[in-house]
């Protein structure tokens, strides 16, 4: 059982993606809203999503089962962070 909160997950995702974005001269708002869609904002694609999940596992030191994550919500920051929080707690 982990004490990781959705806010921790969001913090990591924002910091990780910010670093990636800097390389192309773009920015990610420090606290994007819950319904912020990383895909539609052009921040991530399927390859980026794949890499992000690997980074999340490495950072939190635990395998994450993405089975229950609705593909519709996969790239939306609020649902994504809450999903990772729930999964890490199981």
């Amino acid at each position: 059982m982990s004490g990781v909160s959705a806010a921790d997950v969001k913090k990591f995702i924002v910091s990780h993606l910010s670093k990636e974005l800097e390389s192309s001269g773009r920015m990610l708002n420090g606290d994007p809203p819950d319904d912020f869609d990383l895909l539609q904002e052009g921040i991530i694609d399927s390859l980026g999503m794949f890499n992000l999940t690997a980074e999340l596992e490495e950072h939190f030191g635990q395998e994450i089962d993405f089975e229950g994550l609705d593909p519709e919500e996969m790239t939306i920051i609020g649902p994504l962070c809450r999903y990772v929080e729930r999964t890490l707690r199981q």
């Binding site: 192309s24 993405f66 089975e67 593909p71």
Partner: protein, 530 residues
């Protein structure tokens, strides 16, 4: 299909026989053959009206997963021009360079790409025809670019004014830019005479009918998209193009659209496995599953065959220079595992009209069972590189004892015996596959050298994966003030998959016994760091 005809002939036939059938699913809408024909013919008539006899005979299509992307490709071909796909998800500077180097006189643009058009056409010294087939109000653009001809939807010529023009034997069907080792992308000229045999063979081999639905996972800047569109239209089938959002849920797309033919890079399988989209029996509608673009891991095929139990799986191989794909291997559950090497599915045998030889570094054929570089020739061997005769003659050569030119694939292969399939072993040079994209490490190095002013630069595919690499890291010899600034400059010139994730500065780069940068040693350093 007439072998001296146009790549668009199959579409025209299908539009005659099946006008009411769906030709494309895009933007969540089905478009019928008669509708697509109407728009394409209007675009073609407009191009013919404003740029009669253009030199070169090329039209750029700056559109992404939209109706205009499809009608633009067809419109260019119907006008008698080859098409040059441009992609707004690429860095603008790269798109601008492709347009400039192609010297297209006409550009078809979809609405979402308008945001980039100013930066893409800036500095073009000649008059351009800019066609916006899905945009009503373009007065701002007209005011801004008085030197160019700007055409909105309402200004398109009538389809009745389109004049059917048959291309000449060596005319270009499409010009596709691929990564080049000098820092400048190479334009591969693919002729109608190269692509028509490919499309004909594929459509017949897979028995495509007007009941089929094919996937379009590939962007048009990737030549595998030519299979998706033109194999579909050859037989009156429907090509189904997911939106950028839907690319994240390919499994749902297969089932929602009841696709019958699937074609993707193997990385998509890895992605789908990761997100648990490969459950047993998930995709019963698929009758063919085709993979191309990077080495196909045995593990991925085994996952896929469980999820799509009614489909036959084939692994296709081919560089852009040999027109999309030129060898293939049919997966067989009983035998294939034994003939696969290093967990990678064989690339099989050349297409019936294509010839392959395996040579050593002196371009002499090797003995059976020995590995060497794969050289191929045949009707699919393309016309060479756009305006680069030197590069063309380096890559398209006549080997000793042969009378025909062959294309040097740069791929290392082996055939264990006369009845055995070709096995792919890796790149001869420093090209790597990063998630299906062919990347010349030399191009990345060249860009970094230019931007940093430093000479000692080595780019490496890292971390290594079964099918190539997951990304790029770079070593630079010397000192540089701001890596961050350098990274930004590089990212403005290279697509995301080519931008290094890490820059390592070293006082001195290690050299090997030949006095060259020691890549093995650098790989060892990366291993230590990871």
């Amino acid at each position: 299909m007439n072998k001296n005809g146009s790549l668009a002939d199959g579409f025209l036939d299908s539009a005659t026989y099946y006008p009411q059938h769906n030709a494309v699913f895009v933007d969540n809408t089905f478009i019928r053959y008669d509708e697509l024909y109407e728009t394409a013919a209007r675009i073609a008539a407009t191009i013919q009206q404003y740029t009669p006899d253009p030199e070169p005979r090329l039209t750029a299509v700056f559109a992404y997963r939209s109706v205009t992307a499809f009608s633009g490709v067809l419109g260019s071909l119907l006008a008698g021009n080859g098409y040059v796909p441009l992609n707004r998800t690429f860095p603008i500077e790269r798109t601008r360079m492709m347009l400039e180097r192609s010297e297209c006189r006409s550009v078809v643009v979809d609405m979402p790409s308008i945001a980039q058009i100013d930066q893409v056409i800036v500095g073009i010294p000649y008059r351009l025809l800019l066609v916006f087939p899905d945009t009503e109000d373009i007065s701002q653009l007209r005011d801004k670019w008085p030197q160019h001809m700007v055409i909105a939807r309402a200004d398109l010529a009538c389809s009745g004014r389109w004049t059917h023009t048959q291309p000449n034997r060596n005319d270009i069907a499409y010009l596709l830019f691929t990564s080049g080792s000098t820092g400048i992308p190479k334009g591969v000229m693919v002729g109608h005479r190269n692509v028509i045999p490919f499309v004909t063979y594929m459509a017949d081999r897979y028995g495509i009918t007007d009941n089929d639905r094919l996937s379009q996972m590939f962007d048009m800047t990737f030549d595998l998209s030519v299979f998706d569109m033109f194999v579909t239209w050859e037989k009156g089938a429907c090509v189904c193009c997911p939106s950028q959002k839907t690319l994240m849920k390919p499994g749902k797309f297969i089932n929602d659209l009841q696709l019958t033919v699937w074609f993707s890079v193997p990385s998509t399988v890895v992605f789908m496995k990761r997100f648990k989209m490969l459950k047993r029996g998930s995709y019963p509608s698929l009758r063919w599953s085709l993979f191309c673009g990077e080495p196909l891991p045995v593990g991925s095929v085994q996952e896929w065959e469980k999820a799509a139990p009614n489909s036959i799986i084939e692994n296709l191989y081919g560089p852009t220079e040999l027109t999309i794909a030129c060898t293939l291997y049919r997966w067989n559950r009983k035998e294939s595992i034994d003939v696969s090497e290093m967990g990678i599915v064989p690339i099989g045998d050349p297409y019936p009209d294509m010839k392959a030889i395996i040579v050593d570094e002196h371009l002499r054929e090797v003995a059976e069972g020995t590995s060497g570089e794969l050289l191929m020739t045949g009707p699919q061997m393309t016309l060479g590189y756009w305006k680069e005769p030197a590069r063309t003659s380096q890559a398209f050569i006549v080997p000793a004892g042969k009378s025909d030119p062959y294309y040097r694939t740069g791929d290392r292969v082996r055939r264990a015996g006369p009845d055995k399939p070709l096995i792919y072993l890796g790149r001869v040079d420093f090209q790597v596959k990063i998630h299906g994209h062919r990347v010349e490490l030399g191009e990345i190095e060249a860009v970094i050298r230019e931007e940093s002013g430093l000479d000692g630069v080595v780019a490496l595919g890292w971390p290594e994966t079964e099918s190539g690499a997951a990304g790029v890291q770079v070593f630079i010899e010397g000192e540089y003030d701001s890596i961050e600034t350098l990274r930004q400059k590089v990212a403005r010139r290279l697509p995301d998959c080519m931008v290094p994730s890490r820059f390592h500065l070293m006082d001195k780069l290690p050299l090997n016994t030949n006095g060259k940068y020691d890549r093995k040693r650098l790989i060892a350093i990366l291993k230590e760091l990871s």
